[in-house]
Amino acid sequence: GAGVSQSPSNKVTEKGKDVELRCDPISGHTALYWYRQRLGQGLEFLIYFQGNSAPDKSGLPSDRFSAERTGESVSTLTIQRTQQEDSAVYLCASSLRAAGKKLFFGSGTQLSVL
């Protein structure tokens, strides 16, 4: 595809439900990132994948959050037992390994937990 694609664009869920967010990176991009953007706050790093290496999960806020990536393609971010504080825009980005951190971002998934 032409850019990073995220789905759904909006998700409304009830507290306690599980949600799954999807990211399709740019073809050929080996690095993939998930960030969270709460209203009025900066982007918060969640997780980084690079090829077949072990992911950097250091930004995941709790064990309710997990992410997977199959090879160098699609990634899913799963939030279990959602809480109201999980409400945010979840952004995915991809990059070429040697691109000097020129990240290409998707438009994000707006998650609202009621």
């Binding site: 982007l43 790093f45 950097d56 951190k101 990240l103 971002f105």
Partner: protein, 110 residues
Amino acid sequence: EDQVTQSPEALRLQEGESSSLNCSYTVSGLRGLFWYRQDPGKGPEFLFTLYSAGEEKEKERLKATLTKKESFLHITAPKPEDSATYLCAVQVGGNEKLTFGTGTRLTIIP
């Protein structure tokens, strides 16, 4: 802990009125400083990467500069289409993640 602070939080300028946005950082082992632009409802869009003090990059009406403590994004004769939130981010040491500031929301009034 690595910190990135952007100022001002918001800035309103008349069309053609030049100004600068500031990004100050406190990190150990800066590998790169990045500027992104974010429009409402969209993901950030890459503008510049700066690697060492004294470096400058330009793109149309924007020029980014870097010192050992801060970076400036200079906007010359801005137009309404330059209205956006401008984000600064740093990459530190052996980390692959970028640490972002909270951004400056720029509004250019026609």
